[in-house]
């Protein structure tokens, strides 16, 4: 069972690393917004797996906060980008 959790964690971590690569590469700000959104999702997924693995529920409220922050952050960033690029 532990091996299963570790495989899942490895998959999520690999996904996070690939997302991080997109975050670094860009090329536009919107690509980075998408990448950050996915990255937060990967953090949520990894934390959920760890919670199930250790049977430790301490991090559960963090998941809710992260989900909320990812949404508001992406929407705000997209809005600001639209405002900025619309000026040109």
């Amino acid at each position: 069972m532990t091996a299963l959790y570790l495989v899942t964690l490895a998959g999520v971590a690999a996904a996070g690393l690939l997302t991080l690569l997109r975050l670094v590469r860009g090329p536009r700000a919107l690509d980075r917004v998408i990448a950050l959104d996915v990255l937060v999702t990967m953090v949520i997924a990894g934390t959920a797996v760890r919670t199930a693995m250790d049977k430790d529920t301490t991090a559960l409220p963090v998941l809710l906060v992260l989900a909320l922050l990812a949404f508001t952050g992406s929407v705000t960033a997209a809005h600001l980008i639209e405002k900025r690029e619309g000026m040109r």
Binding site: A14, T19, R22, A29, I44, A48, V49, L63, F71, E85
Partner: protein, 131 residues
């Protein structure tokens, strides 16, 4: 009962991880914002949903609803985020119009008499790091 739970987790967790991984690969390899958005949304909805359900099966019963709440919230917010980012990409010329099969919004804008930006068809510059 524990065996049933373990089987559910053993099926759902790797499947979710696979979806996350495929979404991330798509995010890295697809050519423009529209297709990257499409790949990212798969990882964010289906991938996370499978992992959260698989993890919540292992929780004590009164903690599982928190994970389901996160899943529900993600299901509601991901389409909204994707729509807003897609709209912003359209307006700031982030979409590669050569990859589109059709552009109903441009047709509608033309019909309504809104001036259509002529530069809208130009593909985004790949190494345009300043934006």
């Amino acid at each position: 009962m524990t065996a049933v739970r373990d089987v559910i987790t053993a099926v759902l967790l790797p499947t979710g991880a696979a979806f996350c991984l495929l979404g991330a690969v798509g995010l890295l390899r697809f050519p423009d914002i529209g297709s990257r958005l499409h790949a990212a949304a798969k990882a964010q909805t289906l991938g996370l949903l499978l992992i959260l359900v698989g993890a919540s099966v292992q929780m004590p019963l009164h903690y599982a609803p928190v994970l389901l709440l996160v899943a529900l919230f993600q299901l509601f917010t991901t389409p909204i985020t994707s729509q807003i980012i897609g709209r912003t990409a359209y307006r700031t010329r982030g979409l590669d119009h050569r990859l589109l099969f059709g552009d109903e919004l441009a047709e509608r804008l033309a019909r309504d008499g809104t001036p259509v930006d002529e530069t809208n068809g130009t593909p985004p510059q790949e190494e345009d790091a300043e934006r």
